[in-house]
Subunit: 220 residues, 2 copies
Amino acid sequence: MDDLSIDSVIFGFSNELKVLLVKHAEGISKGKWALPGGWITYDESLDEAAYRILRLLTGVKDIFLEQLQAFGSVDRFPNKRVVTVAYYSLVKDEDYNVVAGFTASDVRWFSLSEIPSLPYDHKEILDHALEQLKTKIKQEPIGFNLLPKKFTLLQLQSLYESILQLKLDKPNFRRKMLGMKLLIDCHEKQDNVSHRAAKLYMFDEDVYRSLKEHKFVLDW
Amino acid sequence: MDDLSIDSVIFGFSNELKVLLVKHAEGISKGKWALPGGWITYDESLDEAAYRILRLLTGVKDIFLEQLQAFGSVDRFPNKRVVTVAYYSLVKDEDYNVVAGFTASDVRWFSLSEIPSLPYDHKEILDHALEQLKTKIKQEPIGFNLLPKKFTLLQLQSLYESILQLKLDKPNFRRKMLGMKLLIDCHEKQDNVSHRAAKLYMFDEDVYRSLKEHKFVLDW
DNA sequence: ACAACTTATAGTCTTTATGACTATTAGTCG
DNA sequence: CGACTAATAGTCATAAAGACTATAAGTTGT
């Protein structure tokens, strides 16, 4: 379908929130960094197309991925009318491994502060994705998708701080997080740190599913 | 663009939440009630297309309208691959007036309990729209778009009850609503009621805009 | 072995919001 | 004028949030 594309905002986290961009190897915007994207084929659904592109780029599958919305300004794409369906996804550092090729000459993570100027309406899409991520993470515990399986409370806290762009109080954060019973104590501690080691926790998917109805509101 | 359409979920409110459906006068699903929709032309953006369709059907403009998302299962449409971009909008009873024609043999409001079986994936789209409306109305005071300019607190409360599908306590609802200072006292009372008349209020858009940052959380 | 430092974790206190109520008031209808 | 209906006011107990202080458990350097 030559008037319909997918563009994906792929988030990662290591110390701070990052976004995966590709450098176009060919086409109109050759040499520019842009959101990874591609054309939708006739025999795949939108979601399938988004997963395909994510897999091609990061080798990751079975991951959090959600549609943002369609973008269709008349002049968003040069010389041709193209509507794009934007997706965003959350990728664990440990799962990710770069896969080159795919019409892209380069791929890498950018932290939010170093994002270069983007072609088309990609800046707008990225901004929407950030907004959506902020909103969503207050509603549902999707942040875990960005962290390794086992993590400390401080890691979790900086994730929230990084996404919501604010400072949180450590003891209060602990209280709230532990209070909702979604964390499993691994009975392990982190190591290789030059200070008191923190307990490691895991996200308890089962409890989460059973509490799905229950609200998960973080009104920070 | 013959592979890209718009479908709109248009909400109205009078005593209960309603949805506007059209009866198709021609085409594959002739005679069936469905969501109002149409093709996107080359020279209009997605939003413009959605507004155009809304205007054609209800005569309404300058109204709340927001994109839901794109729907693109491979087989959602018979014989042809069609991706549709779904919108939802909120229409005041007082503004609305039916406009016939437009490839539709009939148009009318359906309350949620009387929605007939819908063609394509329109049921799925409607369900998404309802979910989105529920989520959104807890976050932002968009409900006012469904009520007349001046309304009573009880009207507002039944609107919330109707959308969120729950029973609220009257005094508590008052306290909370008045507490967020978004209502202007009209210094008028309703009339033609066979009981004590309630005060009429208006939504204060200016205060709202200035409080935009401030949270508007209704965690009921 | 101990002081200095860093981060984890526990706990306190005050303020505010919520939910479940009861009570009173203002009006209509017969 | 009394019954009825809905509006509006107010109370009280509970729970959560936010701002803290305090202590514990490690590390590193001397």
